[in-house]
Assembly symmetry: C5
Amino acid sequence: MLLNKQISISYFLDLIKWDLLAIAIYAIIAGSLDHYGLLRRVTIPLAILSLVATIVSLLLAFRTSQSYERWWEARLIWGAIVNDSRTLIRQVKTFLPEETASFAQRQIIWCYALSESLRGLPFSEKVKAYIAPFNSESRNWPNFLLNQHGEALAAATELNPNRQVQIDATLARLCDAMGKCERIKKTVFPKSYSLLIHFLIYVLMTILPFGLEDRSQWMEIVIVFVVPVLFIAIERTAIVMQDPFENRPTDTPMTAISQTIEVNLLEMIGEPVPVQEVQEESYYLM
Amino acid sequence: MLLNKQISISYFLDLIKWDLLAIAIYAIIAGSLDHYGLLRRVTIPLAILSLVATIVSLLLAFRTSQSYERWWEARLIWGAIVNDSRTLIRQVKTFLPEETASFAQRQIIWCYALSESLRGLPFSEKVKAYIAPFNSESRNWPNFLLNQHGEALAAATELNPNRQVQIDATLARLCDAMGKCERIKKTVFPKSYSLLIHFLIYVLMTILPFGLEDRSQWMEIVIVFVVPVLFIAIERTAIVMQDPFENRPTDTPMTAISQTIEVNLLEMIGEPVPVQEVQEESYYLM
Amino acid sequence: MLLNKQISISYFLDLIKWDLLAIAIYAIIAGSLDHYGLLRRVTIPLAILSLVATIVSLLLAFRTSQSYERWWEARLIWGAIVNDSRTLIRQVKTFLPEETASFAQRQIIWCYALSESLRGLPFSEKVKAYIAPFNSESRNWPNFLLNQHGEALAAATELNPNRQVQIDATLARLCDAMGKCERIKKTVFPKSYSLLIHFLIYVLMTILPFGLEDRSQWMEIVIVFVVPVLFIAIERTAIVMQDPFENRPTDTPMTAISQTIEVNLLEMIGEPVPVQEVQEESYYLM
Amino acid sequence: MLLNKQISISYFLDLIKWDLLAIAIYAIIAGSLDHYGLLRRVTIPLAILSLVATIVSLLLAFRTSQSYERWWEARLIWGAIVNDSRTLIRQVKTFLPEETASFAQRQIIWCYALSESLRGLPFSEKVKAYIAPFNSESRNWPNFLLNQHGEALAAATELNPNRQVQIDATLARLCDAMGKCERIKKTVFPKSYSLLIHFLIYVLMTILPFGLEDRSQWMEIVIVFVVPVLFIAIERTAIVMQDPFENRPTDTPMTAISQTIEVNLLEMIGEPVPVQEVQEESYYLM
Amino acid sequence: MLLNKQISISYFLDLIKWDLLAIAIYAIIAGSLDHYGLLRRVTIPLAILSLVATIVSLLLAFRTSQSYERWWEARLIWGAIVNDSRTLIRQVKTFLPEETASFAQRQIIWCYALSESLRGLPFSEKVKAYIAPFNSESRNWPNFLLNQHGEALAAATELNPNRQVQIDATLARLCDAMGKCERIKKTVFPKSYSLLIHFLIYVLMTILPFGLEDRSQWMEIVIVFVVPVLFIAIERTAIVMQDPFENRPTDTPMTAISQTIEVNLLEMIGEPVPVQEVQEESYYLM
């Protein structure tokens, strides 16, 4: 939850440093040579430049909006996980009071386990301690824990089927949320568009010096550097946003959300809320 | 519900006053110096100007539409709260008539408590009076009240499970609405886009004087002032719209909606509708 | 259902007559003076004109699409009311046959009452006759009628809870539709955007004569008149579309839809369909 | 299912033939006269041309996307009808096996009756033969058939209410699909936008010759003809797409879908699938 | 799951090779002849070029976004299949434990059968072995398997109706997913738009050489080649994305998803997970 601007800007610059370098080198070389010899006579009409820029802009607008939607969907899913976790425990408390504590505990662990496995991190101590007794080699622990919920529900033979079915419907929604996270995690943005947009930005950069009039050399260098960098910055922002489960500063703040769930559920079952351990992630609180 | 135009325009000007100042200073300095000395020879092709303006416009269109969607979603959620509050009381009246009054009372308080905690305000007298007897230290009072609904439902042991489950489904929808409000409240618009757009507007401002022909000095100053201000105005409108629970004039009118719910529910349980206290918020009725 | 084109175009011209007048006066004055004296030397680069026009266009596109969405949502809601009215009566006929006629009658009145109260009209004779016996002072008659449905359901004590709950779910959807209509009715399009767009169109009009070359005086007047009028026409169309419950020709055709529902429901309960009274509304059948 | 390209292009040309003619006449007259006499001195800056073209393009993009959405929604609805028809018969087979054949038969007829009444065609032999015995004068046969489903469900008194309610929910979805089709069929695209766009295209055509330089007469005629025709072609495509139930080649292929449903349902109830009669519609298989 | 870039780029080039050739030939011929004889005097204003390019860009943006939505919807559907497969088995395990293994087996086969029949491939050995005993001539095996689920559910006469209905609801969602896949598979993108866009790109190509100034012959050839190729590349990418079930590298990775489901379900029923056979598809893991 550090909202340290300096860190995030330097993080961002780090992401695009190779592009920056390549563009800078090209800007200096092309900007210099353009005024001499053969290249001087190469000119491209400004209208062609605008045309290419229009295509790139529309594709970038498309990409920006799709990557925002992925990021926002990830946030929607984790918002739904908050809601369904609360609903689950309220329902268990209403319909199956004696199981409330064990369901709440399992649900808290499920949230942490899901966020950690999405990020590809090793499980935290809390999760490890919980799953150790199962002696299982599951490849998908969150799904395993959800099935434990299901088995506890099946074991409650005295429970009225109506109520059982209502709790099961909440489990189905949690199962959906889990599957949606996996979908976002595993589905890459279509490679063809990524390549096409990146390629087009470099096409634009390449023709830029020949579209400018040969008046001021250093101004030309500046323009040939700044314009492609703006496009690259927009593209890179979209790339970073579109994968929200990669253990990066722009991630969905799954750990913070899991902690909120933990606090809410512990309060609902009347247990003391632990003093929050030191926050270990430095993600934006987005 | 004051729709005082003067207030809202001055409020808006207040929001952008520092940007106005910065742009005015730059417009005067750059517009003046551009005609003399070294700067005179610096020119940027108009096509580059249009190109940057096109990028900014597309990003602003994207941002405008995303912030409108957040604002509209907030309104959708509170519309759903109206519907589900009415449905809840109609269901309780149909299935569990003896509990109608207490559910209605609790639901009214829930609406006020949710709107006040979203805005980060201290609870109003009405809410304080209601929650005082609980002697609890809840960190999330709306969730606490929803659980009170759940417990009243659990206590109604004579209630047919089918009907109980139907009321529970309405509670689940209210729980969803509450969680969605929290999501909008806590999720900031991606910092990278905010910074990028703001930065691009200033880039545009910077190159603007060098793209104009050196004909009329005061006309240049006017243009260098007016154009970036238009962009800033659009950007700022989006910024204000995107956070609808901040106790600002453009907020979702949660207090007014809560009062509508109060009137509806009291009428449904046959209690006298209180003479509306003086409206204390001066938000637009949006 | 009169689709009288002449009426609708004159209605539209009536809406924008003041704008037309203001723009015409400005066009004549500015177009004339621009060729003489001081103003002759004032010129604004065409690129700045395009830039402003691009911003206006993008904002208008945004506004057009949002207002279309409101209008379309209103139509969706009334489509859902048709479906849920039919479903309600089919369910009552299946599960609670002896109540079919009274439910159908009440549902028909509900549709008329909702459409009339959304439009802020006094209730029609049919509705008045139905609600007169209740001797109530409800502030929200459609909600009152929905609760009558609920009470009739509660009174059917012999009804299997499963079936009761299924009918109740249909009532909940009707309650949703009612609340959604109220939301659209009460939520104004954000004032800031309305003002900004209107203001920008006038900015564009103001700079237009100075961006044109001083060749043909009467051609300049025509252009300075026609271009802003096109923008105003698009803006005004959006303004008219966005509020579909205002008793205007572009309204959602709620009366016609209510009559369709009446015919369908009467047929379902085997009663004679009344000869349609003369259609009193002249809305488009949209 | 004929995918005869020649037919569809000639069909399309037929749709726009009057516009083609009008534009051709104007192009020839304006293109010729523009070079002589008074008109020679009338010029409109190219920037104004671009501005009008930008507005038209944005409105056309809006219209194209809205009409595509209507067309796609129609396809979605009929996709849902396929799914719910299969689900209905699977449920009847599971819960009420003795009624399976009569439900399947009625459901098949429902699909054909709905598609034929949406297209405003007289009912086919198959449908006529089925509904003849009812001796009814229904104004809405698909709704009548759905109610027959409902009555068969009501008559199954031995059926467990839970199962009855589940089948009823499927009927409610089919009722929704039917109502959605009627909504698309009856809701015209807002007249104001249609007129505005059509008007703007002709405005663009009118000013086009005066924006071009007076260099090559026949080239001017070609341009004044081709450019508006492109816009008209896009507009007309949108107009054709937006009404997908009009018995046109671009319709939702409702007959083909109904036949698919027939084959699926007959297979599910173990009856022989009829040899497909000759396909009488020549719609695209879209 | 080979992410072999070389393969995918050559695959892509293969797709557009005829367009590349046609454009190259035209670029060389038109670029050469444009400088001599009659053609030299043919010029088209750059503004007309931009205008046509703007229309093409907007239509391509529309097409790109619609085809992305189809591709993404296909991914959503298969994500839902994952979730509902897990939910189905969890429910069967909870409510009908003795049938778990047979449901899991059938569900795994259903996934493979659906993916293979969508791709129009012959069934794999695994599927063939499973369906062989049924001795049926079904035209739609996935639907047949779903009905087997339904019959197993119907045969479980001792099952509480509530639970039976809950499992049936999951089957209904799987039936929906199956129907949605068929809808995407069978619905072509409107032919009129495809033709219009393709035609417009060639119009743009045709006028391109006449819009350029006659300065550098080889530069003109390069531009007339590169610009249309960029448009064609974007168009072709959209065409490839919009049909995600065609056994192409850009397909929804249905085989990989089916294997994930297989692993999950086998683990849920406690059976050994088979060593994954060699991956036979070289689709992107998108």
